[in-house]
């Protein structure tokens, strides 16, 4: 602070992007990250553990289906979402996202159905209402490897576009130095893969091969996150973003320190040594969320013109805590529905 200049009157600007936006970027990041983990098995047909891909696919599907709802809720005029399609502007990354996101969600659902179809068919014989739904969803239950690969590649393209737009949409905002970094999309992707692998670890049901595979993904993603953040701080993404990130850490040392230790270093150590996979996964998920919270809400609390720091406030209502809990509840509902259709998970691992 410069004691030679004192701001006598001024007012804090309310954040225009609410915690709903954090939830959207968190869920879609995890979905894209988890989807990438499925590619070696389901699309590239490399020899890898099927349980790794299956757990990651469930993580990708559940988060990918919940994410658009959070995005819609962040609009202050959600009932006008159709304006994106009627008046879309090619100069806006957000306008492109309105096409990329449904394409990704639709293709991911189709991809998931093609990959899980034989499993659904196997469950169809178990009887009961769930078995009947499984039977309806599975159809013939026959594997369609060609279609699975084709749709997998198309989904990969859509996932790449979603990763590109979610990163670029924020990184192009020159008015916010913290966001205006070419490294931001890289960290989003890396934390998304880490969070996706972390969530998949929860669905892997402690199967040894799947756990090992996911811990490797987790390790690589967290290491990439750490290296990119170091590059950011060193100014490789621009001096403005580096100063802004250090400034944010100065204003919020506790939360930033918590992200660094609990969200990055501890899960990285656990993944490296192959210990406590569930804890490592949970911490990686928390790390992915904390990073987005700090960048979005902390970034909006850094004044563009005024001195100091506005502070980050979480209101209890739908624009704050209730929104976060609601999004989590939606994800739990989708996860319960999907895992119920595919249960028992342990048998599915073989």
């Amino acid at each position: 602070m410069n004691p030679e200049l004192l701001e006598l009157t001024g007012f804090a600007h309310e954040p225009a992007w609410l915690p709903w936006a954090v939830q959207y970027f968190f869920l879609i990041g995890l979905s894209v990250g988890a989807f990438l983990i499925t590619l070696p098995t389901y699309v590239l047909r490399r020899r890898s553990d099927d349980g790794t891909a299956r757990a990651a696919l469930i993580a990708a599907l559940t988060t990918g289906l919940a994410a658009p709802i959070a995005l819609l809720a962040d609009l202050h005029q959600p009932d006008r979402f159709w304006h994106f399609y009627l008046y879309g502007q090619h100069t806006s990354w957000m306008a492109w996202g309105a096409f990329f996101l449904p394409a990704y969600a639709g293709l991911l659902t189709l991809y998931g159905w093609l990959c899980l179809r034989p499993e659904l068919a196997a469950r169809a014989g178990s009887g009961g209402p769930v078995g009947r739904i499984d039977g309806l969803l599975a159809g013939s239950g026959r594997r369609l490897p060609g279609a699975q690969r084709t749709v997998g590649w198309l989904t990969a393209g859509a996932a790449a576009l979603v990763a590109l737009y979610t990163g670029a949409e924020v990184a192009v905002v020159a008015a916010r130095p913290l966001w205006h970094s070419a490294l931001l999309p890289v960290v989003y992707l890396a934390t998304g893969v880490a969070g996706g692998a972390g969530l998949a670890l929860l669905f892997a049901n402690r199967a040894p091969a799947a756990t090992q595979g996911l811990l490797r993904w987790l390790c690589v993603a967290l290491a990439l996150t750490g290296l990119t953040v170091i590059a950011w701080v060193l100014g490789l993404g621009g001096s403005g973003p580096a100063r802004a990130l250090l400034g944010l850490a100065e204003h919020r040392p506790l939360t930033f320190g918590l992200w660094l230790t609990a969200g990055l270093l501890v899960p990285l150590a656990l993944a490296w040594f192959g210990r406590a996979p569930v804890a490592a996964g949970l911490l990686a998920i928390a790390g992915a969320w904390m990073w987005r919270w700090e960048i979005f809400m902390g970034g909006q609390a850094l004044p563009k013109n005024s001195a100091g720091f506005y502070g980050v406030h979480l209101s209890p209502g739908p624009e704050g805590l209730l929104g976060i809990v609601g999004t989590l509840g939606l994800w739990v509902l989708i996860a319960l529905a999907l895992t119920t259709l595919l249960r028992p998970t342990a048998n599915a691992q073989g």
Partner: protein, 239 residues
């Protein structure tokens, strides 16, 4: 447009009628503006006494929600060695020549008229807040009553009726001067020609059309100083 306040009295009747029938924050039909004009403002800080009359007049004219402002005067204490002095800085939308709020708008709700005024079509705006993020002047906000982006319009409903913007009309010291930058005989053009004028955040490359006379260099871009202790609680105070 003649910027003399007295001459504008003639237009008051027409302007009053226009403001009575036009919602100030709504642009149902997009007004295109006169391509032969380029509206701009010069804020003569030597004349500004920081009374916030412009803030109040704007809020009254445009019916902005309590706690949200299209223009506001920030106050500073500057220390030059052992000699402290007060400085004021009225802030508003700069109606930039290269407005960064327009290309980011996903639905084309933000647009620029031929006369340079940047507006929001709030019948199209989805309230995504992207333009709020992109504005380097923090001149935009989400109007909690309309759920759409909101900002200074240079009181285009008044300007189109031959009146001055409300903040200019009400300015006690005549510190806000509004007019046609393309007309060399306008008051704003003469002030620009005769004085050293500065613009805020010039490094942003947005070509702002609000200029300041007597602007301290320390206030030209992001202010690095000690923040106001009352700032964060404003929302709580008005709620």
């Amino acid at each position: 447009m003649d910027t003399s306040r007295r001459n504008f009295l003639k237009g008051i009747a027409a302007g009053a009628a226009a403001t009575a029938v036009t919602p100030s924050h709504a642009a149902v039909e997009r007004p295109m503006g006169d391509p032969g004009r380029r509206w701009g403002m010069v804020v003569d800080l030597r004349r500004c006494i920081g009374c916030q009359a412009c803030t109040v007049a704007c809020g009254t004219e445009n019916r902005t929600p309590l706690g949200s402002y299209r223009t506001v005067v920030t106050h500073y204490e500057l220390n030059d060695g052992d000699r402290p002095r007060r400085a004021v800085l009225p802030r508003l939308c700069n109606h930039c020549e290269e407005p960064p709020c327009i290309p980011v708008c996903p639905v084309g709700a933000t647009f620029q008229r031929a006369d340079g005024i940047v507006l929001v079509d709030n019948t199209r705006c989805v309230g995504c807040g992207y333009c709020v993020q992109a504005c380097p002047y923090d001149a935009r906000f989400i109007n909690e009553e309309t759920g759409t982006a909101d900002k200074c319009t240079f009181c285009m409903h008044r300007v189109d009726a031959g009146l001055l913007p409300a903040c200019v009309e009400t300015c006690v010291g005549g510190g806000r001067v509004f007019g046609d930058l393309m007309n060399p005989e306008s008051a704003v053009s003469k002030l620009i020609a005769e004085h050293r004028v500065d613009r805020l955040n010039e490094h942003a490359g947005t070509e702002p059309q609000v200029r300041y006379i007597g602007l301290d260099g320390r206030l030209k871009s992001k202010v690095e100083g000690t923040p106001s202790p009352l700032r964060a609680s404003l929302k709580e105070v008005v709620s």
